[in-house]
Subunit: 150 residues, 2 copies
DNA sequence: GCAGATTAGTTAGCATAGCTAACTAAATTG
DNA sequence: CAATTTAGTTAGCTATGCTAACTAATCTGC
């Protein structure tokens, strides 16, 4: 709040940017959750399923790493997905590892969720100019880079 | 993925933007949560406290609206904040309503959390050029607008 | 001015999701 | 082949989300 000029990014600006990013992420997810709940699949399950659908099969540990959660957390998320028939466990040569794969049903559910999400988003985006919509894509590029470095 | 050109925002692009926003929000929060956990205050509590600190005192219902959660959910979040002495309940003329106010301790804890968050974010932002850092602020403006319309 | 309706908040009970600690089972290593 | 390491699960805690059902206070209409 004080300290107006530092090397390249003022402390006040950084504080504000951090808070706004934090708040924006929280509120965005709360809104999207409303639509996602229609699928009967929780947000963590949906996100994990998305990795399997778009990134292909992998082990539980790899999925936990991709989702930045601990193995026990991912173990339970996968149990839920398996119970609903959205993901299948397969044995591998390494008897400790499991190979997780999205089922056809899981892929379908995920794509339906995407459809609902995009409906909400498209509606929200309609208030932006075409140019701004393009900028949003650039922003996401930047944001993804920031998150990777976080 | 097909349907390359629609009126102003192709379906494929909208799908991708929706997914990327969704995924970015999830992963951003997971990362920030790591630092926020040091405060011993959960993410929902921190977000609610932030509204009281920066937006001033208000009723439980108003806070629930601001945070986009149901009253019972906010009631419990506030109970946790009160238990830790970060928020105080005051009576109002309307006997049904409570006036929620951040305590000095709550304000201090929030600002410390901000500090930790901005440390992480500043580190992540250091990989961006100065110009990109400026753009990030502008794009946040856009994102907040999208969320308000969601 | 009081009976009934409305409004604010809480309580109870359920589910998901995060964690650590402690366990099992399988593979690797010396 | 014994000891260590690695992969995953189970158990148990906390926090957050919801709906349904409750209490208490205020407002409305006659």
């Amino acid at each position: 709040m004080t300290d107006v000029k530092s090397k390249s990014f003022s402390a006040g600006k950084a504080f504000e940017t951090a808070d706004r990013l934090h708040s924006a992420a929280i509120h965005l997810l709360r809104r999207l959750r409303v639509r996602d709940r229609e699928s009967g699949v929780g947000p963590a399950q949906l996100s994990a399923l998305s990795v399997l659908v778009f990134g292909g099969p992998r082990s539980l540990g790899e999925l936990a790493d991709a989702e930045q959660v601990r193995p026990p957390t991912m173990s339970r998320i996968v149990s839920g997905l398996e119970r609903e028939g959205l993901v299948r466990r397969h044995a591998t040569e390494d008897g400790r590892r499991v190979r997780l794969e999205a089922s056809a049903k899981g892929t379908k559910i995920l794509q339906e969720g995407r459809k609902r999400r995009v409906e909400s988003l498209a509606k929200a985006l309609s208030s932006l100019s075409e140019k701004e919509q393009g900028q949003l894509g650039d922003f996401l590029e930047l944001l993804q880079q920031v998150i990777r470095n976080l």
